[in-house]
Symmetry: C2
Subunit: 303 residues, 2 copies
């Protein structure tokens, strides 16, 4: 990561962490155990990519990024809930995440399911509070909620997760199954949808014009897919220690870009997507610097 | 159920079912399997109590109930997601719900978790679409989202579920554990919170004044708690076949009103709560007829 981007991510990440601490401080009506389980995964060392994207998009469109921080936290809560549920024994059955025991390993399966449910629900509350504080119009507030719900739900991330489940054992699928098409669907929905929603949410908070929203969507879709292709490559060649998890994709015989296209072609596809994504940012000029840096980082990162 | 209430529930239920069919018709981007899993539990014969409350509250406050139907569906989706997750092996481990195999028994655990996640997320989208259609102000739209999220989340239903988990094996708890207090917390949060949120959501859609909202909240809290007390009683004395599930509370050694207070006292408490809830409806006059009928039904129902 470049020194500039590193400093940017650190300062923005600190804002997000401080706000997440406030949001998850636990109120008297809330059982302590669930707050502990939610906090455990929220503060387990995530990169804060999605919340940083919310704030960067808001800034691009002329809003002080601090004013978007609660919505930024909402997107991080949704991302974290998805990881908690993905790691469950009935899903990917992972014991480790970012080098630490997964939520259900520490708090048990029942609490992990509820911690995910709690985070997902809380995300909509945090975004609503943010919209009210900015005195957004009814139309913008509803749009914000719809964008987040669609990115996270059956049309987005949940849909991608389902497609991922369905593709298991893909080598034994019949002739109608197109592994390349299926994999693009999985990555676009499982990863790119929430990244795109993060950018759109930031832009909506800033009252961005439709063309700006459209461009941020295009950027999000491109870097989201590139991010996942890069992840597939890293899963094969990356240092397992740096990734902090077992190289489980190969073991599970999962569909990956590395497997379908090979390492070299996968890298070329990711690079082309990054170029495409950056191109969409043109009208934002210098304000989009962090988004350009993030795009570059996605294909050069080592973990 | 009185003939009047029966006719009312049937006509309102039909509106809800028709709209749920539209909402869950499945779009090209959505994997068919998840739409099937979500639909299975949504159309598994629920009483539609929460959506009917949304529409009845809207009507009480002067809105055509048909204009609240998408939000009514949102509350039913949240209720259904909670049942799917509650039935999971890691939670209550139930094989039957309303006489039918539970979601995970039909679709597998992974899909059941995702179907719940999908319904919860979709609920916020449906409510946002409803708010936009009614051209609610930003403030009212945000308030609608907050009320639903709080009723469903850690401060509400999820919190109640956690307290319920924590109370397991309550007979072996140490001196600090107060079973009566714990049980009231569980019922108020696990059941009353979402019932109250349903009423508030309907009132917000109708642009109700704060005093009206407060009164509907009081009614919701009272009938929600009464509903659960009646459920505890039914679980002991009710015809198991009518309930469509095993009498699992006794087997699991769960905290129930019937066990802590006995059948007679539990019934008296439920009746007192119903009277209290109906009292709060006074200023609504004849418009609150269905809410009065529903309150009476809660303590006289046999399933």
């Amino acid at each position: 990561m470049s020194a500039t981007l590193d400093a940017y991510m650190t300062s923005r990440g600190a804002l997000v962490d401080a706000e997440l601490k406030v949001l998850l401080r636990g109120r008297s009506e809330e059982p302590k155990a669930i707050v502990a389980a939610m906090s455990y995964s929220i503060f387990a060392g995530g990169k804060r990519l999605r919340p940083v994207l919310v704030m960067a998009a808001a800034e691009c469109c002329g809003l002080n990024p601090r004013k978007a921080v609660k919505t930024a936290c909402a997107l991080e809560m949704i991302h974290t809930y998805s990881l908690i549920h993905d790691d469950l024994p009935a899903m990917d059955d992972d014991d480790l995440r970012r080098g630490k025991p997964t939520n259900h390993k520490v708090f048990g399966e029942a609490m992990a399911i509820l911690a995910g449910d709690g985070l997902l629900t809380y995300a909509f509350e945090a975004a609503a509070v943010n919209a009210a504080k900015l005195k957004l119009s009814g139309r913008a507030t509803a749009e914000l909620m719809k964008v987040i719900a669609r990115g996270a739900g059956v049309q987005g991330m949940v849909g991608g997760q389902v497609a991922d489940l369905e593709a298991e054992g893909w080598k034994k699928k019949n002739h109608g199954f197109n592994p390349k098409k299926a994999l693009e669907y999985i990555h676009l929905h499982k990863t790119a949808a929430l990244i795109t929603a993060s950018l759109e949410a930031g832009a909506i908070l800033a009252g961005a014009a439709p063309d700006r929203l459209r461009r941020l969507r295009a950027y999000g879709k491109a870097i989201g897919l590139a991010f996942q292709i890069a992840d597939d490559v890293l899963d094969v060649i990356g240092d397992k220690k740096k990734l902090g998890k077992r190289g489980s994709d190969a073991q599970n015989d999962k569909l990956t870009y590395a497997r379908l296209y090979g390492i070299a072609d996968s890298r070329a596809m990711a690079a082309a997507l990054i170029a495409e994504g950056r191109c969409a940012l043109k009208p934002f000029g210098a304000k989009a610097r962090p988004l350009h840096d993030l795009a570059n980082y996605i294909i050069t990162r080592e973990k």
